[in-house]
């Protein structure tokens, strides 16, 4: 068990406080008999930008899926000091940990605006409140290039635009930790750069970031910490040290 951060106190601390945002201990994820992640232990401090890197098929995404509760896991996950419920995505989202999944997982036949708006479902059922909310505004403001497409069906957007919608939907959930899975998969270099610029801005605004990335070079321009994954085993290190 590693303990890089200090134990946070009961009240949810403000951003950049330096407390532990996410603590993962002995996390294992298996699909049937196939073990994808074995005994991963790492922590992410508040205000960090943490890259989870490693070759394809080594369990990077499975770590995020297990941590956010999309799939069931073994081991303990603490979000701001509170023990996360296993397999409960909603719990994670309500406690500030939001996933931007691999392959975006948008709703292709809903409009761009509705896709983003549904991010607010994690904290409200009131559509008026969601539309007027600060997280929704922030999500829209971050991607001015989406503005002309807000009424367009999300399925008809380009790959880069869809990735932006997925990130914007994550932001609308008002996260304290945004976990982004392979944000640049299949995107052209220029578009990938634009996505990373947006992630950098989100980080600057005080959101803790976790980015799963196959290409370490790109991730390490942004991230100050990294977790390396090899064959389902995660090792904790500070960026630049290895």
């Amino acid at each position: 068990m590693t303990a890089t951060g200090s134990t946070p106190d009961e009240s949810v601390p403000t951003n950049k406080g330096g407390g532990t945002a996410l603590a993962v201990r002995n996390l294992s994820v298996a699909y049937g008999n196939v073990v994808a992640v074995h005994d991963a232990t790492f922590t992410v401090a508040e205000g960090d930008a943490c890259a989870i890197i490693g070759p394809n098929g080594n369990g990077k995404s499975s770590i995020l899926m297990g941590v956010t509760g999309m799939i069931r896991r073994r081991g303990a996950v603490d979000v701001f000091g509170a023990a996360a419920r296993n397999g409960d995505v909603r719990w994670a989202a309500r406690h500030g940990l939001t996933l931007v999944p691999e392959r975006r997982q948008l709703y292709p036949e809903l409009s761009t605006a509705d896709n983003i708006l549904l991010g607010c479902y994690t904290w409200t059922r009131n559509i008026g409140r969601a539309r007027r909310s600060e997280p929704f505004d922030r999500a829209i403001d971050l991607f001015p290039e989406l503005r002309p497409h807000l009424k367009q069906l999300a399925g008809t957007l380009s790959g880069g635009q869809q990735q932006m919608v997925a990130i914007a939907r994550g932001l609308a959930a008002d996260p304290k930790i945004l976990a982004v899975d392979e944000p640049c998969l299949g995107l052209a270099e220029a578009v990938a750069k634009r996505v990373y610029d947006a992630l950098a801005k989100i980080h600057e605004q005080g959101t803790t970031l976790i980015v799963v990335e196959e290409a370490p070079r790109r991730a390490l321009t942004l991230c100050n910490r990294r977790v390396e994954v090899r064959n389902g085993v995660a090792g904790d290190s500070v960026a630049g040290a290895a």
């Binding site: 999309m70 995505v89 909603r90 989202a93 996933l99 709703y107 059922r125 009131n126 939907r169």
Partner: protein, 295 residues
């Protein structure tokens, strides 16, 4: 002209029923990816249940209606909790054609069997809710029961539309049908929506059975025909577009009435299905059939 007008009114009335069942089928398919082939059977239970409680058991009409609807809702709840939960939420999740058709098809036969025991095999109908001779406007005649059907269709269809279009819950409902993984990420409980809409559409179907039965009369086997027409109209919207399913239902109703009135009362249905099939062959994409097949 008055013949045309009266046929049109009759067509719109039957069309409204088809449309409502088509909407019920397609809304639930959007959420659950299961085709509800038992929706017509809930209508039959509504009609025959009210008839049984009112005429045979002698309960007051409002009590009979409320009791029937409660039984339908409770049954739909139990069915979802037991059968659909095991099929879709369990560790051995089933997918594909078996889930899409099998469970509700089996449910349809099950309800038919129980209804046969409880209500017998004769034609019955719930009592008319709005008694009196048909209303006339010039040479046009309006059946009172038909007007009630239309009113119910407008109110329920409108409520559905408002819910899906203007509430976050409605959008979440659409999202859970579009992408179950994406829905879970933002905390949408797709199982809850599946249950909610299944119970909701079962009750709506029962209401339509009660309101409509004075026009046609129901037997324990009437459900299958209704389901089939609703299913057909829903197919014209690719099972995923309630608005299109609604239009298709109205269109089929009107076409059926016109063919019966102008072409042949005997062969009207045959010609109707020939036309419907020809339309599918001519414009598969525009009518949504391609997306129904390829997902």
């Amino acid at each position: 002209m008055s013949k045309f007008g009266n046929l049109f009114i009759a067509g719109i009335t039957t069309g409204a029923i088809y449309a409502m069942f088509a909407v019920c089928v397609s809304v639930w398919y959007r959420v659950s990816n299961i085709l509800n082939l038992a929706v017509g059977d809930f209508a039959m239970v509504g009609a025959l249940g009210v008839d049984n409680l009112y005429r045979v058991k002698g309960l007051p009409l409002p009590v009979a209606i409320v009791c029937t609807l409660l039984v339908v809702a409770a049954f739909a709840y139990v069915y979802d909790q037991v059968v659909l939960r095991i099929a879709q939420d369990g560790p051995h999740r089933m997918d594909g054609i078996v889930v899409t058709f099998f469970f509700t098809f089996a449910l349809s036969f099950f309800i038919d069997g129980v209804a046969k025991m409880l209500f017998g095999t004769d034609v019955h109908a719930a009592p008319a809710l709005w008694n009196g001779a048909s209303l006339s406007l010039g040479s046009l005649h309006f059946e009172r029961a038909g007007l009630l059907v239309l009113a119910c269709a407008v109110i329920i269809g409108g409520a559905f539309w408002v819910y899906i279009r203007f509430t976050l819950g409605g959008k979440a409902l659409e999202a859970s049908g579009e992408n179950a993984v994406g829905a879970r990420i933002v905390g949408i409980d797709t199982r809850r929506y599946r249950r909610l809409i299944f119970i909701g559409t079962a009750v709506i179907a029962a209401v339509f059975g009660i309101v409509e039965s004075p026009i046609t009369g129901f037997t324990y086997l009437s459900g299958a025909t209704i389901s089939l027409t609703g299913f057909l109209a829903a197919a014209y919207g690719g099972f995923r577009k309630p608005g299109r399913a609604l239009l298709a239902g109205l269109f089929i109703g009107v076409l059926e009435a016109m063919l019966g009135g102008y072409v042949s009362a005997e062969y009207g249905d045959t010609v109707l299905y020939a036309i419907l099939a020809a339309m599918v062959l001519a414009w598969p994409r525009q009518l949504g059939f391609e997306s129904a097949v390829s997902g």
